[in-house]
Amino acid sequence: MSEPDVIKPEMMKSYIWLQTADGSIQQVEQEVAIFCPFICHEIHAGMGSSKTYPISLPARVNPVTLSLILDYCRFHQVPGRSNKERKSFDEKFIRMDTNRLCELTSAADSLQLKPLVDLTSRALARMIEGKTPEEIRETFHIPDDLTEEEKLEPLKNITDDPRIRLLNRLYARKRKELKEKEKLKNVEVEAEHVDDRSVDELLSFINGENGDSKEVKTAKNKKKNRRRKEQQKNAPPVCANSNTSSSPSNGTKESNGVSSVSRDDRVKGHCLPNISELLKLQDSEDDRFALDDDFDDCDIGDGIDPEIKEQIDREVEDFARRLNSDWPERVQELLSLGQERRPSLYSINGNGCSTKRSNASGLEKHEK
């Protein structure tokens, strides 16, 4: 290796010189190194045959990853190996900590070593599949930099998982809570409205018989939504309802974009006895909040059918049961947070319908 730019043919093994970004230079058997397309090209371009003209490797390759890559190449460039052997080697090879694995992926990519990129990507994918976001962030040290708002913003409900829908609803309520907190620190948040989609639907169906009011209501809802949810890019089927209540009162009915009306709607329901108290509370809040002027006459008719109420109750129970059986802790937290503020058992949303709200203990009740 004393003559530059000449590879002595009589040598048993040719060596290639590689230089990493930190400046260190090392010597590698040519047959191993040319397994990397990048190095192969450089050799064809005349580089790497001597110490003075080493092949400069891309910045993403540091000495540690280079050594790993060369191990990989050294094994796989031998033609006689069986598939089983190769697979077994691969499985052992990728056992390293996550950080190193990511570095390795990056380095292999810059050297255009596709089989290794595939192998490492698959390993990384396995670390992501089936895990919760927290677990994934933990594994990869991903900073949790979505704002509370963004996180609470419904995930476009891609998966249509009823749990995610509920989560979205709860998040939406939470977000609403946060907003209110900001706006009015002095005002005690009292009665909250129940986000009651299935009931909304029922009511709009009922109201549909008075063709008018339904349309009016929907249009107003849309206005509200647009203003409120400027961050959301689509009109998701599960929209962030501005009602804040954490009771799992919603059944499994699909709602088709009819969002429940915000809390400042005047309540006109006459269904249950203790409503009047809430009404007063809400009315007073309305004055303060007055977010949406045009929503006045939400005249929704005569209240709820006892049958429907029963159905609602059933749905609530059913949902709560499911909720509690496999719900992540976080949501439990959320629920218990929200529960603390419930003054009364019943709450009413703007549409004037009521749902039985459960508090923390109520949840357990439902369970049983």
């Binding site: 990056s106 990507s121 089936g130 979505l146 689509n234």
Partner: protein, 418 residues
């Protein structure tokens, strides 16, 4: 730790986009979408995925869930496609529950505008999906796979100009339409038709290298397939079909580059029909593997087919035959002396594997012929059908006693309880 590789501590987010996409592509679509809550940089990473695979796992089918499973999938796909941003190169939809619905047609329309290159559709078994005409305007298609479809190419359809792989399974299509479809896709390299119910099929595909046909065919003709390398045919014939021309020529007359031939069911029978019209029989210099099933050694004509095949393949390496013979009649045994050239040599033949052999006279002659003329033979693997009444091992003893041209033959004998 090199700070130029990671930003703060985050290992993965700053990897090159192509790697992130590779990783996301290796995840089920649900998990890929869920990465949007990881951090602000991950929010929309999944929306640029170019390879999409939708199946019944995409949405949790909940026992309590009032909606039907397929509704969930429809919603998922709709929402996903609305949020998706960028080209889509590969799209797979595979569902056992989803029946045809207007949305499926719309998705195809959407995809046809996205220059999709690989498309695979397989819906529920209940109703076959009638492919809308926008399917035929996916000009960039390289690979197309359809299951349980009705295909009705429009009159102005001139083929998929870039199509290389076509896989049609349980397709309902007019016979000449399928022939036209095949011949108009001039770049076609791989063709698979399964569960096909057609009458005659003539394949004209100048670039075709891989062919697999399976179904009820009355007639198969490989008219213009000079590049074919692998041929696999499973023919279910209702009754014997008398052909005026030679089926062997029709199927194998124009495939000089063939390397692997597989024939199931009635294939050998079909090939045996018709007489060669005295044309010069091609030599299959590349033919290395012959794999035939349900060959009846009772039928002289079928044996002739096999003989013709192996005698015109000087570089044959592997023969695998599953027998289906019954007759213990030792008639026509002199056929072997007549038809088998004594100087035949299978110079490259290394492996012979025979299954469902009953030790019948013709089978034994065939084994004897092979053993005696294969100087490079390494493995002779014979599996015998054993009926309850059978006890003797004569067959194997007899085989061992045959004259062998190769000294290194390893005999593998096994018995299959029938």
């Amino acid at each position: 730790m090199d700070t130029n590789l990671v930003s703060r501590e985050d290992y993965i987010t700053d990897l090159p986009e192509s790697i992130i996409e590779t990783i996301l592509t290796k995840l089920p679509l649900r998990d890929a979408v869920r990465t949007s809550v990881l951090s602000s940089k991950w929010r929309y990473t999944w929306t640029t995925l170019t390879e999409l695979r939708f199946d019944d796992d995409c949405c949790i089918s909940d026992a309590h869930h009032r909606a039907l499973p397929e509704t969930g999938l429809v919603k998922f796909v709709n929402q996903f496609l609305l949020l998706h941003n960028g080209p889509i190169t590969r799209f797979t939809l595979s569902s056992e529950y989803l029946e045809r619905c207007p949305y499926v047609d719309q998705w195809l329309l959407f995809l046809s505008r996205k220059d999709v290159q690989e498309l695979s559709f397989g819906l529920a078994e209940t109703e076959w999906f009638k492919a809308p005409s926008c399917l035929f305007s996916c000009k960039k298609l390289i690979a197309l796979e359809l299951v349980r479809c009705e295909l009705d190419p429009p009159l102005h359809f001139k083929g998929f100009p870039n199509l290389k792989r076509l896989n049609l399974q349980q397709i309902s299509i007019a016979p000449d339409a399928v022939e036209t479809l095949i011949s108009s896709c001039t770049l076609l390299e791989s063709l698979t038709l399964s569960y096909f119910e057609g009458a005659k099929l003539t394949v004209r595909a100048p670039n075709l290298t891989y062919l697999m046909l399976e179904g009820y065919f009355k007639d198969i003709c490989l008219e213009n397939t000079p590049m074919l390398v692998v041929v696999s045919i499973a023919m279910y014939m209702a009754e014997a079909y008398q052909s005026s021309s030679c089926n062997f020529d029709k199927v194998l007359g124009g495939v000089p580059s063939i390397q692997r031939l597989t024939g199931h069911s009635y294939f050998a029978k079909y090939m045996s029909i018709g007489n060669t019209l005295g044309k010069i029989q091609p030599t299959y210099r590349q033919l290395k593997i012959i794999d035939l099933y349900q060959v009846s050694f009772d039928d002289m004509t079928e044996i002739m087919v096999i003989l013709r095949l192996i005698l015109s393949a000087p570089n044959l390496q592997t023969i695998q035959i599953e027998g289906s013979s019954w007759s213990t009649d030792p008639l026509d045994l002199d056929f072997w002396d007549k038809e088998c050239p004594r100087d035949a040599t299978f110079a490259q033949l290394k492996v012979v594997k025979l299954t469902q052999i009953s030790g019948l006279p013709h089978e034994m002659r065939f084994i004897e012929f092979l053993l005696g003329n294969s100087p490079a033979l390494e493995v002779m693997d014979v599996t015998k059908n054993v009926y309850e009444t059978d006890e003797d091992e004569d067959m194997f003893m007899e085989i061992l006693a045959f004259e062998r041209a190769s000294d290194d033959v390893e005999f593998m004998f096994a018995e299959d309880q029938v």
